[in-house]
């Protein structure tokens, strides 16, 4: 984005409005939906929140793939709850995007038509049960690393959605690690399956933090706006530092020959992700891009009769009865009639 576009956006706000917006940011305050804000800020947030929401609901697919094949009823119930959470997280995020004037149906259209993206990580296949556990441990772990700072982001509704999401995803990460631990303390075949999952998901997990700082042109503006609190590389570093000791505890080998702990700083040195692969997956050429979007469109189209039926039912019921007379729906407080008859049960 050039300086010209930004200047035009600034011109759209009065000097007073711009000053109020700048003051909120300078004070580390929160921008709320009805506040005047630069159009570029609004557009950036809608794009980011939509991409985040799409990631949540596309993320249901690689995991949903294993619901019917979970190794026990306990694991199945847990996985089902996790997949349901992802749907919920998508909804919190679509709601947050709508407070900026976006329409959820339009955002879904953009996803279905490939005009908006989702996290590259969900374009990798889940080949084994260990992949599901590795996703909980690594992918949800990376997501939390990204999302905790976002819960302090300058846009109030996005920050509030993130607080809720982070609370819930903590279970996702822990169940994944617990499942990895079970495999790693199991038979040699189970250990090998766990190692194979780490081998395939390690690098794509590091890519979740986005391109390196020197190739991330929008980062500086997002930092200035208080949307982004830490750079991509800083978050990636934190993730590596947090996760490598966990892998050691599991007796697994992180597939990076350059990985080494710097004794002085206590931080890890590590290799460079294959950014060419990253760009290929971003551009639609990952192992599962087409499958994910096609499945998502199909699910949406197959669900259309439900939405139509619900709309028809709602319309008919609205004609027939007032809401307050429906047995299962009540108003917030007792009506006058209830109060009057309370003392006279015989009436």
């Amino acid at each position: 984005m050039g300086a010209t576009a930004d200047q035009q956006d600034r011109a759209a706000l009065t000097a007073e409005q711009q000053a109020a917006f700048d003051a909120v940011l300078a004070d580390d305050g929160r921008v709320e939906p009805r506040d005047a804000m630069p159009e570029a800020y609004r557009r950036t947030l809608i794009r980011q929140i939509a991409q985040h929401a799409h990631s949540e609901i596309i993320g249901m697919q690689p995991e949903g793939n294993w619901v019917t094949r979970a190794p026990s009823l306990r694991r199945k119930a847990i996985l089902y709850a996790k997949v349901q959470d992802e749907a919920g997280h998508g909804l919190y995020l679509y709601s947050a995007a709508e407070t900026l004037g976006a329409d959820r149906a339009d955002l879904l259209d953009a996803l279905h038509e490939g005009r908006q993206k989702y996290s590259t990580i969900f374009n990798y296949p889940t080949l084994t049960w260990a992949d599901i556990m590795a996703i909980g441990w690594l992918v949800d772990g990376a997501a939390i690393m990204n999302q905790v700072p976002l819960s302090r982001c300058s846009y109030g509704p996005y920050a509030r959605a993130m607080i809720r999401v982070c609370k819930e995803e903590s279970f996702h990460q822990r169940q994944g690690f617990e499942g990895m631990l079970t495999l790693c303390r199991g038979t040699p075949a189970q250990q090998a399956m766990a190692q194979d999952a780490l081998d395939r998901f390690w690098w794509p997990s590091l890519m979740m933090f986005g391109p390196p700082d020197d190739a991330s042109p929008n980062s500086a503006q997002s930092m200035a706006w208080g949307i982004k609190r830490f750079s991509n590389d800083e978050l990636r570093q934190r993730f590596v530092d947090a996760t490598v000791p966990q892998a050691e505890f599991l007796d697994l080998t992180v597939p990076d020959p350059e990985l080494a702990l710097d004794q002085e700083t206590g931080r890890h040195r590590f290799g460079t992700p294959d950014w060419d692969e990253f760009m290929r997956v971003v551009k639609g050429d990952g192992p599962c891009n087409r499958q994910r979007v096609a499945f998502r469109r199909e699910a949406h189209e197959e669900g259309s009769w439900v939405r139509e039926a619900a709309a028809a039912h709602a319309a008919r019921r609205a004609e027939q009865t007032a809401v307050s007379t429906q047995r299962h729906l009540v108003s917030a407080y007792p009506t006058q009639r209830h109060v009057a008859s309370a003392g006279h049960p015989a009436a």
């Binding site: 919190y92 619900a310 709602a314």
Partner: protein, 97 residues
């Protein structure tokens, strides 16, 4: 493209987390009617027993105070610090005030 039935009205959701506390705004969702809005609100906002009671209100039924949430509307309270107990100087040896 989206069908017209995809454009369901927006509902604001308020959840009472437990008896003794007020309903608090939890978020919003789309639903064709109040009945579905309540069921969806239960699934979206109380998956971990976060509530004992839910209100849903159509978003277009809410009247908001002001566009930018900080205009002259709230000014009248700004110059009346004497409405707060800390406004008053009381000798420290006086108890129970």
């Amino acid at each position: 493209m989206s069908a017209p039935s995809d454009r369901e009205p927006l509902w604001e959701v308020f959840v009472r987390s437990r008896r003794g506390l007020s309903h608090t705004h939890a978020g919003s969702l789309h639903a064709p009617d109040a009945h579905m809005a309540l069921r969806n609100a239960r699934d979206v906002y109380t998956r971990r027993q976060e509530g004992v009671s839910i209100w849903v209100v159509r978003a277009d039924g809410i009247t908001a105070s002001s566009p930018d949430e900080k205009d002259a509307f709230f000014d009248p309270a700004g110059d009346k610090p004497y409405r707060h107990p800390t406004f008053y100087q009381v000798p420290s040896e006086v108890q129970n005030l």
